[in-house]
C-alpha cells in the first residue's frame, strides 16, 4: 500500500476537474448565446425605448463580439467573480447560488441515502433470485420507476397523502408559506432541516422534516430504480465468479456469500451510481420537485429563473440571465466533478489494488 500513489492519483483526477469545468463553461457560454435574447430588458423597466436598451446593452458589454465577451467572462471567473444576475436585481451570482445550494443538497442527500438503503438490498435479493417472481417484480419496478415523470408522481403523492389522507403537508418548507415568519430558523449551514436541528429547535425540525417526506420520496424513486438495476447486474456478475463458488464450497453462510463476498466485489459500479445519483438529485433532479412542492429557496428555482421561465425579482421574465446560467453550470459541473472524485476515492478505499 503506497499512500504517495493514492495521493498522486487523486491529484491527477482533481486537475482533470478543472479541465471539465472549463469545458462546461465554454459549451454553456456559446449554447446560451445561440438563443436570441437580451437580458437587459430585465433591467430596463416597463416599455423601454430602443435608446435605453442600446445604452444598457453597451453599458454591460453585451454589444462586444462574442469571443471578447467570452474572454472577459473567463478572466472574471478565474478572479473568483461569477458576475451579477439580471433577473435578481443585479445581485452577485455566487452568493445567490451558494444560498440555495444547502437546501437542495439536503434533498439530494436524503434521496441518495434512501436509494442506497432501499435499492442495494433489493438489488442483491433480486440477483439471488434471478429469473424468479421477485426478480421479475423488481425488474418491472425499476424500469417503471425510471420511466415515471417526477412532476406527475409528485402531484399524485400530494393528492394521496396531503389531500385525501391529510397526514403530510402539501407543499413548502414547514408546510406553509408563512412558516418561517412564525418559526424563524437561525442560519448556520443554510439548510433549513439541518439548521433547525443544530439550533435545537425540535418542533420546527419535525415540521420541516414532515414537509420533506413527499419531496424526498418523489426525488428518490428514480435513483431507487437505478440502484436496483445496477446492484442486480453487478451482483449477478460477481455471483457467477469462481471464487464465490469456492466460498460456498468451504461452508460460508449464504447470507455472507451474498452480502460480504459478492456485494464487496460488485461495489465499484454501485459507488459510482450512488455518487452520480447524489450529484443529480442535488442539482438537476430538484428542478421539478422544488417546483411541485414549492420548496424555495432552491437550486431548481434559480435554474428556472435563469432561463427566463421562472419568477424574477422584477416580475419580468422571458430573457436569458447569462451569468446566472453560467454560474449554475459551473456549480453543477463542479458538483458532478467532486462527486466523481469522491467515488474514485471510495473505490480506492474499497479496492486496494487500484492504488498499488
Amino acid at each position: 500500500m503506497n499512500d504517495l500513489n493514492v495521493g498522486a492519483y487523486l491529484v491527477k483526477r482533481a486537475l482533470l476537474t478543472v479541465v471539465v469545468v472549463i469545458g462546461t463553461i465554454t459549451i454553456t457560454f456559446f449554447l446560451s448565446h445561440v438563443v436570441p435574447s437580451n437580458p437587459v430588458i430585465l433591467l430596463a423597466g416597463q416599455n423601454p425605448t430602443p435608446e435605453q436598451i442600446a445604452r444598457l446593452t453597451h453599458e454591460y458589454g453585451l454589444d462586444e463580439p462574442l469571443y471578447v465577451q467570452f474572454l472577459i467572462y473567463l478572466r472574471q471567473v478565474f478572479s473568483g467573480n461569477l458576475g451579477i444576475s439580471f433577473s435578481f436585481s443585479l445581485q452577485p451570482v455566487l452568493p445567490l447560488v451558494l444560498q440555495t445550494l444547502p437546501n437542495s443538497m439536503t434533498l439530494g442527500a436524503l434521496a441518495t441515502l434512501l436509494a442506497i438503503v432501499v435499492g442495494i438490498p433489493l438489488g442483491v435479493e433480486s440477483a439471488r433470485r434471478t429469473g424468479r417472481k421477485f426478480d421479475s417484480l423488481m425488474r418491472i419496478f425499476s424500469v417503471s420507476s425510471v420511466a415515471l415523470p417526477q412532476f406527475w408522481l409528485g402531484l399524485i403523492l400530494q393528492l394521496i397523502f396531503a389531500v385525501y389522507l391529510g397526514i403530510l403537508p402539501n407543499a413548502s418548507y414547514g408546510g406553509s408559506l408563512l412558516f418561517f415568519d412564525m418559526h424563524p430558523v437561525k442560519t448556520v449551514t443554510g439548510s433549513y432541516l439541518i439548521d433547525s436541528l443544530l439550533t435545537g429547535n425540535f418542533v420546527t425540525f419535525v415540521a420541516i422534516a414532515k414537509s420533506m417526506v413527499l419531496p424526498v420520496l418523489t426525488l428518490a424513486l428514480y435513483p431507487i430504480g437505478l440502484m436496483i438495476k445496477q446492484t442486480r447486474s453487478s451482483v449477478m456478475a460477481a455471483l457467477s465468479q469462481d471464487y464465490i463458488r469456492t466460498a460456498r464450497a468451504y461452508g460460508i453462510k449464504e447470507r455472507e456469500v451474498n452480502y460480504r463476498f459478492a456485494l464487496k466485489n460488485a461495489l465499484p459500479p454501485i459507488i459510482v451510481t450512488a455518487a452520480l445519483t447524489f450529484a443529480y438529485s442535488s442539482t438537476l433532479g430538484v428542478i421539478y420537485v422544488e417546483e411541485v412542492f414549492n420548496l424555495a429557496p432552491g437550486l431548481g428555482f434559480l435554474l428556472r429563473s435563469s432561463t427566463g421561465t421562472g419568477i424574477s425579482s422584477t416580475g419580468i421574465s422571458g430573457a436569458l440571465d447569462y451569468q446566472l446560467i453560467l454560474g449554475l453550470a459551473i456549480v453543477v459541473g463542479i458538483f458532478y466533478a467532486i462527486a466523481n472524485l469522491v467515488a474514485d476515492a471510495l473505490q480506492i478505499y474499497f479496492d486496494r489494488r487500484i492504488a498499488r
Partner: protein, 329 residues
Amino acid sequence: MSLLKVEQLKKHYIMKEGLFNRKKVEIRAVDGVSFEVREGTTYGIAGESGSGKSTLCMCVARLLEPTSGKLYFDGKEYTHAKGEELRRLRAEIQMVFQNPLSSLDPHMVVKDIVLEPVRAQGKNDDESVALDALEKVGLSRSVMKMYPHELSGGMAQRVAIARALTLRPRMLILDEPTSALDASMQAQVLNLFNELQREMKITYLLVSHDLSVIGHMCDSMAVMYAGRIVEMGSYDQLFYEPSHPYTLALLASARFLPEGVNGDKFALRGEMPSPRNPPVGCTLHPRCPFATDVCHVNYPDLEALGNGHFVACHNKKNVTEALEIARRI
C-alpha cells in the same frame, strides 16, 4: 472401506425456451452415475468437455442439488444434508478448481484467502495456520501479503490448494486442477498432490480430460461420456485392457496405445452430440467405429468383466479382439 459412495446420481436441467418459455427441454448432464472411492486412494474421472464430469463434481461437493440418486460420505448419507450438518461436511470435503486465479477473491491478500475456510467454520484462524498450510504447498511467508494478481498461475494454484488444506479435509475434489497451468507447473503440482496424499492420507476425486494426468495420479478410474460412465476399473484395466470404444479412442488420441498399434482406426468421427437432443440408443453410436444395429436401439448396461472392471458396450468383445489383433501386427 469406501470413503465416498455415489449411487445412481442424476442431475437433469430443465431448459425453457420458445415463446413464453412454453417449450421445455430436459438436459441430462449426469444420468445415473455410481462409483465408490476407497479412503486414501485417488479416483479419476476422465472424459471430454461436456461429458458431465464437472457437474458430477459439483453434485458430490453439494454445490449443486442432485435431481436423484444418493451420496454417502464415510458411510453416512448426505444427499440432502442441510444447515449445520452440511457446513460440517464442507470442512471434510474441499475442492480445488480449474482456474486458480479466478477462484481467489481479488480483494483479499493470500493470508486472508488461506484463512477464510477456518474462519467460516469458526476454527482457529491464527497466522500460524496459514503459514503451516503455505509451507505444505511449498510457498514461503513472503506471499502472505500479496494479492492474487501478483501471483503466477502455479503459485495461485498452490494458494488454492493451501486454502483447501487448512481445514484438514479427508477428501479433496480436484476439478481439472492443472489444465490452466503450463507443462512444467503441471508436473510440480501433481507431484505436490501425491506428496500431500502420502503425508496427510487425503482421498482425491480427480476429474480431468487429460489421460496423462489421470495416469500419473489415479489408482482406479471411470470414463464418462454424455453424462454416463461407459467404463470403470483399475488404472491397469483401463489403460492396458480397454473394452469400450470410447476409452480406446481416448487412449489412441493421447498416444497411450502399445508401441506400433495404429490408433487411427479407433478414432471417433464427428463431434459430441448436443445434450439437448441426444441420439437414441447408445449415445456413442453415431461416432463409434464398432457400432451395430443394436446400438441404435438400446443403451447398453454396465456389465462386470471381473475384478471390478465394468463396461457398457454391446460390442465389447469386438473391441478387445480388435485391440488384440492390432497388438499382434
